[in-house]
């Protein structure tokens, strides 16, 4: 049990959840956005016996997808902890989270609880040989669903729903300076490690809020993910001497990836000169994030880069924030970076990392 509570373990389960959830979020978000744009915000289908348009169908399908998100998150976390028996109770806990408005964070918690509960049951419930087959089929999923389900309904559901609601209300009511500060922090976090763990924390937060109907953080995330590749490209165009031939080749890959909102293309460039690149990109992304909040830009779609900008509520505001962030970061990069040394050793530099904690099992 102690082993399971280690932070790296907790994170791995959450990341498994995110990786299963992402395709669903993207598909649902785009369905809603496409339906809303082309069908001029149609109403949801309420009566399947009367006729409806394809845009209504598209938005409705997207909304179904969004409602499934706590469930898939919860099921994937539970699966990550307890393997296949975790899926059934995990799905149910996600449905509870959705129903009691505990949202995404409630779903995450439900997932952890069901996974751990299954693991405990696996350990302590002993059955006679003739009932072995019933264990994974009936006993584990039923007991875990009962136990964790009751906990969700009667113990922790209320407080989580209230906390979720308070957070949502706070973010929605933020204005002026505090909104800009929030945007700047989110932006800087999202750009800080180019798709690494810090970025994932920021995006987890933004994805969670999306389900609560707060769409600003998603716009920040999208903006901040695109600023580093764009900024590196722009600063290369301003002053090519700053980058070696190898880096230039990487930039030509990073830019198109950036258009698709994949920040990772910048990693090879950041690896050569981490402090200056990370600093410049984070500052640029903070500027972009602050502007997104000030302009009130919102995105119902969590991923997709330039292609989903038209689906935002304020595409012009988004592009202005993106441009301002990119120019800031590119300016800093050009100023701070030294000219590249062309005769660099072909062998890539390795970071010195303490590997002593790694064990062979």
């Amino acid at each position: 049990m102690v082993e399971q509570l280690r932070l790296s373990e907790l994170k791995r389960h959450a990341m498994t959840g995110v990786s299963y959830m992402l395709p669903l979020v993207v598909a649902s978000g785009l369905l809603i956005a496409i339906g809303n744009i082309l069908g001029h915000n149609p109403s949801l289908i309420s009566d399947y016996k009367s006729s409806y348009t394809i845009w209504q169908a598209s938005v409705t399908l997207g909304v179904y997808g969004m409602q499934l998100i706590p469930a898939i998150m919860s099921a994937a976390i539970s699966y990550s902890i307890a393997d296949r028996p975790g899926i059934a109770p995990g799905l149910l806990m996600g449905m509870i989270a959705n129903a009691i408005d505990a949202g995404f964070f409630g779903g995450m918690l439900g997932g952890y609880l069901s996974g751990w509960c299954i693991n405990l049951l696996k350990k302590y419930v002993k059955v006679p040989v003739w009932a072995q087959a019933l264990l994974p089929m009936l006993i584990l999923p039923l007991l875990a669903s009962l136990i964790v389900g009751f906990i969700m309904f009667f113990v922790i559901g209320g407080p989580i729903a209230a906390a979720s609601f308070a957070l949502t209300a706070m973010l929605q009511n933020m204005q002026g300076g505090s909104a800009a500060l929030f945007g700047a922090i989110m932006g800087a976090m999202a750009a800080f490690d180019f798709g690494g763990p810090v970025n994932k924390v920021a995006s987890l937060f933004a994805d969670g809020l999306l389900l609560q109907g707060v769409y600003g953080p998603e716009a920040i995330k999208i903006c901040a993910s695109m600023i580093p590749p764009f900024a590196v490209t722009l600063s290369w165009l301003i002053r090519k001497k700053r980058y070696s031939k190898g880096e230039a080749a990487n930039i030509k890959v990073a830019f198109p990836l950036g258009i698709c909102m994949i920040t990772e293309g910048v990693i090879p460039i950041a690896a050569v000169d981490p402090i200056r690149v990370i600093f410049s990109c984070s500052v640029g992304a903070a500027v972009g994030g602050a502007l997104i909040m000030l302009f009130g830009v919102e995105s119902q779609v969590p991923s997709g880069g330039m292609f989903i900008v038209p689906a935002m509520n304020n595409p012009t505001g988004f592009l202005m924030a993106l441009a301002a962030g990119t120019i800031t970061a590119a300016g800093l990069l050009t100023l701070l970076k030294k000219d590249a040394v062309e005769e660099q050793i072909v062998e890539e530099d390795e970071e010195e990392i303490d590997l002593s904690g790694i064990q062979i099992k």
Binding site: M15, L22, S80, G196, E350, E351, E352, L355
Partner: protein, 104 residues
């Protein structure tokens, strides 16, 4: 030595493949025989064969998420690391494993 492994990251579109490339390039440069399977969002690619797994001296799991098919490596020596370690320090990792196992 013979190395097999699996790479998988959260979004399953970038780090997974960077990690694979780093491991394979470095492993081969150091004279090892290495096969890496990727479990990205697209699904499993370059699936490890039974023979490859049987012949392997060590299994490197470079993953930020739960990977599928861990039972294939039962009884093998398994090293589990996040993708970031492999991306930042592939040579350090492989050398350490070789030293710890007394193989090179």
């Amino acid at each position: 030595m013979n190395i097999v492994g699996v790479a998988a990251c959260t979004s399953g579109i970038a780090h997974t493949y960077i990690a694979k490339k780093k491991l394979v390039t470095t492993g081969e440069a150091l004279g090892h025989n290495i096969h890496i399977e990727t479990q990205g969002t697209i699904g499993t690619e370059d699936k490890l064969s039974k023979e490859e797994i049987t012949a392997a001296d060590v299994v490197i799991i470079a993953a930020d998420i739960k990977i599928n098919g861990m039972e294939r490596f039962k009884g093998k020596r398994v090293v589990e690391v996040p993708t970031s370690i492999v991306i930042k320090s592939p040579k350090g990792l492989i050398t350490k494993i070789a030293t710890d196992l007394g193989l090179s």
